[in-house]
Subunit: 134 residues, 3 copies
């Protein structure tokens, strides 16, 4: 089964999609197999991170913003906005695709793991994630 | 087939699991397909790196420790220890899942490639990696 | 189906392989499924990036070269050349494997996404990418 998850983002940060992926898995009827995700954008990415404590996500965001700041004199690709080139770099440093083993009808995430869409731009965006379950 | 590889780590560094994954592949009987890995933790990660010369792994570890130091004033997520937030960031910058084509009963790694569990914390940890072969 | 894509690189940069992967997909006859890639090297990597504007690729390259410079005193793994250890680090920070959902006989890439081999060394190299389609 291949489906698209659409998610509306409103600025930088981690948006959890674990439950959305689980719903697709249930709908697929697959009990054992692989669930693969591809985010169809180059200024947002995917990550598996701690879903328990928001402070971890907050620090992750701040740290990456400091590593890849806006307004860096090295950028020549600037006509799509100050946040565009940093977003491409952040996407390259994190994940665009994920592969998740499934057993007993469950995605085998660890206890504290959640699946997140990581928005790297400031404005509202409609992000699409292609999901293959087989 | 979905199995869990458990590995005991004792401090930061790269722990090779190539042989463990190969053993699962042999047990599965799969000759052509895909072998997918997910590490079930957010303070350790997966990487495919050079397995021939330990100095490359040593430099990789030192470089990443310098990029993501402990005690950074930017961190607010500190109650799980000084090495916890850096570990989450390192996990985000490296890989949590891997997908490896299989042919002729072999994982198609390059000559110098090994699969590693990358431990980002100091203490001893039991790390689990879910492996799907199909 | 498992095949190898070979690509000759001539120095650092992004080499688009989207069309090569598409040709394999057509040859496979697979209409719905998963296309997985593994680059068989530890000094080059894979990335999905913007394929429309070369300035984004140029900035990505320059930014990463500044983050991971040659000649860093931290390196001890130096006998394979000044560009070797930075190449391993860059490979660890980017992707070695990718998983791409396929539907309607198409890889479900976004409008502006291309698949690239990211060469991190200066000299000419023959790079091999294992591709599983199933």
């Amino acid at each position: 089964m291949v489906e698209i998850i659409s998610i509306k983002t409103h600025g930088q940060g981690l948006y959890e999609i674990t439950e959305r992926v689980r719903q697709l898995l249930v709908a697929s009827g697959v009990k054992e197999g692989l669930c693969s995700l591809l985010i169809q954008h180059t200024s947002a990415s995917l990550t598996i991170q701690e879903n328990a404590d928001p402070s971890a996500q907050h620090d992750l965001e701040n740290w990456l913003n400091r590593l890849v700041p806006e307004g860096d004199a090295i950028y020549t690709h600037v006509f799509e906005g100050r946040d565009d080139m940093p977003a491409h770099i952040k996407a390259a440093l994190t994940a665009t695709t994920l592969s998740l083993p499934v057993k007993g009808g469950q995605i085998l995430l660890g206890t504290w793991q959640g699946i997140f869409c990581w928005e790297h731009r400031h404005g509202s965006q409609l992000r699409q994630i292609a999901v293959h379950i087989g």
